[in-house]
């Protein structure tokens, strides 16, 4: 019961932050609020027992992504122009999507239930096999590195590719311009 209470309070704060992001005009304030949003969501991940995820979210969301957003604003313009179209159609689209998703959750198992499909198949298997197979206390690391090593290799490759993409977009062309001199 106290869990539900904590989660609901955190959620209210998250939704309020998100609504403030919708309303704000200055991008600097929006970026700072998105940093707050990340920290609050990291707290929520802790209450959901996902400490590794919370750690990552706090480091990535509140740290790196804020720096990158601020860097982007410094390279572009700080203020948002008032939108000319009205918000009615987007609101309808969003409400229909939300209604469809809420209809979908009606069949889901209750939050935290032990007999949910996710809890009876592969998850407990990892938990019971890790002590004898791998013998590291942090099961998340064991699954990440050993049981699902292929996944992680792929994810690392994706991060690497995204990094190469940013380098090509932002630094590659400039160097070529410097070399050629007159290239547009």
């Amino acid at each position: 019961m106290i869990d539900t209470f904590t989660n609901t309070v955190l959620f209210t704060m998250l939704v309020l932050t998100a609504l403030a992001i919708v309303r704000m005009e200055r991008l600097f304030a929006v970026v700072m609020l998105s940093s707050v949003f990340s920290l609050l969501s990291a707290l929520l991940f802790v209450t959901l027992d996902a400490v590794d995820v919370a750690f990552t979210e706090a480091a990535v969301g509140a740290g790196i992504s804020t720096v990158l957003m601020l860097g982007t604003i410094a390279l572009t313009k700080p203020a948002v122009k008032k939108s000319r179209h009205n918000a009615f159609v987007p609101l309808i689209v969003v409400c229909i999507t939300g209604a469809a998703l809420i209809y979908g959750t009606l069949d889901m198992p209750a939050f935290g239930s032990l007999d949910a499909p996710a809890q009876i198949h592969v998850g407990p298997d990892y938990l019971s096999r890790t002590p004898s197979d791998i013998d590291v206390p942090n099961v998340v690391t064991a699954i990440l590195g050993s049981y699902r090593g292929f996944d992680t290799l792929g994810e690392t490759a994706v991060v690497f590719t995204a990094g190469i993409g940013v380098l090509l977009l932002l630094s590659g062309l400039r160097r070529r311009r410097d070399d050629d001199g007159e290239d547009i």
Binding site: A54, P137, T152, V159, F160
Partner: protein, 147 residues
């Protein structure tokens, strides 16, 4: 360079070392506590990014040159994939770390996890620092007062 922010510069000098130390702790203690390569890589890159913001991009590039960063982001993936190739050469499946210590499979798993987490950490550090260098290296379009 920001000459007038004296407190910021002193605190940053103190913090950067601590952040690197914490990143190494998260990296190599990831088997026992929350943490691992992804988190450690991000924290490690934060140390260099903080240094770059408070001092200047040029001084950050002196500490961690751009060509080193570009080599590192490929090196991490190579370490990870190379571990898989090494286990294959030892006669086991791709990324089956039992190969490193056939008599004590859990020891082999410990070594394998340590190595691949290191690879992940190196790549993530490289990518994040490279992205920061790419963004910060562009000439800004707005002055400090416009914020």
């Amino acid at each position: 360079m920001i000459f007038h922010h004296l407190i910021l510069r002193v605190v940053t000098k103190l913090l950067v070392g601590t952040i690197v130390l914490f990143a190494l702790y998260v990296q190599f203690h990831g088997d026992f506590s929350p943490g691992g390569g992804f988190q450690a890589g991000v924290i490690m890159s934060v140390a260099f990014i903080l240094y770059g913001i408070v001092f200047s991009l040029e001084s950050a590039k002196k500490v961690f040159p751009e060509w080193v960063v570009h080599k590192l982001l490929a090196l991490g993936v190579l370490i990870y994939a190379g571990t898989g190739v090494a286990t294959m050469l030892l006669g086991y499946d791709f990324l089956d770390y039992d190969a490193f210590s056939p008599l004590h499979p859990t020891h082999g798993q410990h070594w394998g996890l340590l190595v691949i987490e290191f690879g992940v950490g190196v790549t993530v550090t490289g990518v994040m620092v490279a992205i920061y260098y790419a963004f910060a290296g562009r000439p800004p379009s707005m002055s400090d007062e416009e914020w």
